[in-house]
Homo-oligomer: 516 residues x 2
């Protein structure tokens, strides 16, 4: 093989391993990688005008495609702009490989303006960080990054690429490496859980990670049929299949006192891919660990274990029926009247089409939709996994890239939507079928609740101003137009139904500002 | 003194030390600090809808006010959104104190979704990071943070506040601490430089940090008058006073070959607050250190030393005149014709009013303005110090808060402007007199140059798409409207002059999209 640049070898290694999309916001140090993109067929380059869009889109792509997307980012500060959504991706266990350009070794001691400690920045939200020291190590580094990211569930791998190395000639790409297999759960653990469930006490199966796939849900429904256990998903699932003829799964509440209430009657809490429930935030007088006294926790499968296989084995051990009963949930009706969280949720649940992917970061406006949509056609739910608000529009962007034949709905709170509002431009450029529904309550409503929880019954003017998004109101339709996305504003439930139907019927992205 | 919460004690410590603005994007863990803001007079709370606006605004405030502003940010991911502009602030040696909320110690082991390693994230762009372990340490921590940040030049200090501590009662605020004084330069060093300058060879005085204040410039002009030395500012000054009757100072070029060319004839390079010039990026065949062979470097004052005092002592040692000759630069004329970088720069230079603060992040569109504006009335120049694009609109926002009586102009490239476009909303809410001039060339033009420098004469479609901001064009006037800022679009130089005059005459923020 004739020599190619290390940049080209790295990208050829990626395509050979099945990676085919790169969400990029490059700079000078990444120019050899940018140039190599044109020499490597099968790697799509998608520009975002802010790095949080890149990492969020890679997260959405990874959740839906089940394989890593690449990001291409510029030095420590450019990478840093992507950290918040990378944190969400890491918490979602999404497969993501970041390529971060850096100065050559010889240049680092001179402390040029962009010099920063990229390893320190990358480590908190990466499972794997490497900075190869030679050109010939770039392609093998990519192979290892992809194998690491490509485990099931996925991981975040960050490969730091010194700019001089990517221009050097190397012999060729590296061979793809096989990701480590997902550990299976041994029979003894399954039998122990089966014995606990047979004792007749009330049980909850808490589903997370690989316990939320379609096969896992089918097995979980068999377990529920045999044991009477409730099926509950973790509060912020990375990806949950639901609707249609899929089993109905509750979602664990958000506030710790509500979690404890929800689990109050449970004698057994069986973790199937989920971690033990913990409080999102610590509050005085409330515990961090949210397993009530008198409830015994059982780890059927941890978040990195084969929860689907374990649930199937558990169902068999319990002698469960092969075909559990189908759910019977009334299809949601079309609401009317002024928009509020219940009517907004009802409108979305009533109109969302078969196969929709719903990225929900609707915060206080989103609650009512979840139970209503259990009666909607089959759809995929994507949640805000890491608590770093501002992923919704970006994750929806990546999900639409991964699944061009499925309608994507970004069900988005207005406050969170502003963090990566630049996603709209990438949606427009790529012509993605994303319907962005902005829940415009013109406040950080959750913080108004949290102020009250912190004992502030009557916020003063400064506290009020810091939780308020009016003065001036954000005009989302103009923001959308600015980024090349058509938009409309509604404040009635039936108008929202109509706007959703129009947006979903037309190709390309749309934005609906739903004023609450 | 009766007991107050640690949050209130912390804020009272801050106001007692002279801090009076907090740029905030808080979340649940910061609610006690938010509530305390209303109990502490003299601390203004300014909401931004993205954290990069907070850190950029704190940078702009610090550069203009000369004292630290606070930021209030939410956990590691919220802080991370502010890192890029904090990197710029750190490189600018701006005084900034970040308050970052975190979980209580008792909650950290449970690895709740927002848990992350804040110290690892904060260290690369902070001079000082602390996470007090007890409530009584919060106010003293703030006193130490402010004393550290308040050195001249400034530093970045990051105080991580566990949410439970801020609610606890403490005895009261901590006493303010005095920042360490700026080290003076000893006579021997001054004499050595004087001797070098007296040898008659061509010399360049490279000005940076405290060498760019008005007294420093006056002293530098005396040195120049006595020695014939050229006065040159570093490529990306944090803050440079210029125009009117101030000495004319060149700026070091950007590309390394141009820097070497600019310094080619110099036998002596005297550093007065500036670091030795280094290449912004490393290029094959070009050195990192940009001091030509045959040119001797002399450190008169390092970036953290009293460069103004050293320049004054140097002028005296050289027997320089007390009043150096006033500059004679022709006032810029009003241009006409289609907009391009020269006519755009000429329009701005011709119209910018006395006392303007010009935050320039105009990239390839900005070059011609700098020399033309030497003939404009007195103004302050703020540069992109750390190379993390996306500071301009945010720094302008903070500068306007610091100097409500001065017109602020954000002279901003379109690509960079998108990173913290949310700044416009804060400008609108606070009614700030910022004229945002967006240089809309609809590309990352600098990267098109860099591709060519990397040997890509004819970019392929992917490389072309990654440096292009059209398809669709960004409609900046709609973006501005979306954030509550009036805007207009111009593509002719005389129309730009008129638009600038209108915007500068009206109170509140404006945006002008200058299509190139």
């Amino acid at each position: 093989m004739s020599e190619i640049t290390a940049a080209e070898a790295l990208l050829r290694t990626a395509t050979a391993a099945g990676a085919d999309v790169c969400f990029a916001n490059p700079g000078t140090s990444e120019m050899h990688l940018v140039a190599a993109l044109d020499r490597v067929e099968g790697m799509r380059a998608v520009l975002a005008t802010f790095e949080g869009v890149c990492t969020g889109a890679a997260d959405g792509f990874g959740r839906m495609a089940g394989r890593p997307a690449l990001t291409l980012l510029h030095h420590g500060p450019g990478f840093a702009n992507g950290i918040a959504n990378l944190h969400n991706a890491w918490r979602a266990r999404s497969p993501v490989v970041n390529l971060v350009g850096d100065h050559p070794d010889r240049h680092l001691p001179f402390d040029a303006p962009l010099t920063s400690d990229i390893v320190s920045l990358a480590s908190p939200a990466s499972d794997w960080v490497r900075r190869p020291g030679a050109a010939k190590e770039l392609a093998p580094g990519m192979a290892e990054a992809l194998a690491t990211a490509g485990e099931q569930p996925g991981r975040v791998a960050t490969l730091i690429v010194a700019s001089d190395l990517s221009a050097e000639p190397v012999a060729g790409p590296a061979a793809p490496r096989t990701p480590a297999p997902t550990p299976e759960v041994d029979a003894a653990r399954v039998d122990a859980v089966a014995e606990a469930l047979r004792d007749g006490g009330s049980a909850v199966i808490l589903l997370g990670a690989l316990g939320m796939t379609e096969p896992a849900l089918h097995a979980a429904a068999r377990v529920a049929a045999a044991s009477g256990a409730r099926l509950v998903a973790e509060t912020f699932p990375g990806r949950l299949e639901r609707g249609g003829d899929l089993p109905v799964v509750e979602r664990l509440p958000y506030f710790p006192e509500h979690v404890l209430q929800s689990l109050e009657s449970a004698r057994h809490l069986v973790l199937a891919g989920a971690a033990e429930p913990v409080a999102f935030f610590a509050y005085p007088g409330l515990p961090s660990r949210l397993v009530p006294d008198g409830c015994t926790g059982h780890v059927l499968a941890g978040p990195r274990e084969d929860a689907a296989g374990a649930l199937e084995a558990l169902a068999d051990a319990l002698g469960a029926p092969a075909e559990p009963p189908l759910p019977s949930v009334a299809p949601p009706g079309r609401p009317s009247g002024a928009l509020d969280p219940p009517s907004l949720g009802a409108a979305l649940a009533a109109v969302q089409p078969e196969g929709a992917i719903v990225m929900e970061e609707a915060a206080t406006s989103g609650g009512p939709w979840f139970p209503l949509a259990a009666g909607a056609p089959r759809h995929t739910y994507l949640g805000l996994t890491g608590g770093a608000i501002g992923q919704g529009l970006a994750v929806a962007t990546g999900a639409a890239l991964a699944c061009p034949d499925r309608p994507v709905i970004a069900f988005q709170a207005d406050g969170g939507g502003l963090y990566t509002v630049q996603s709209l431009w990438t949606q427009a450029r790529e012509g993605l079928d994303v319907t962005n529904v902005i829940c415009s309550n013109r406040s950080y409503r959750i913080l108004q609740f949290e102020l009250a929880r912190a004992g502030v019954a009557e916020p003063g003017p400064k506290a009020a101003s810091l939780t308020d998004l009016s003065h001036p109101d954000i005009d989302w339709v103009s923001l959308a137009r600015g980024f090349g996305v058509p938009g409309e504003r509604v404040d009635q439930a039936d108008a929202l139904c109509g706007a959703l139907e129009r947006a979903l019927a037309e190709p390309g992205p749309h934005l609906i500002e739903a004023v609450l």
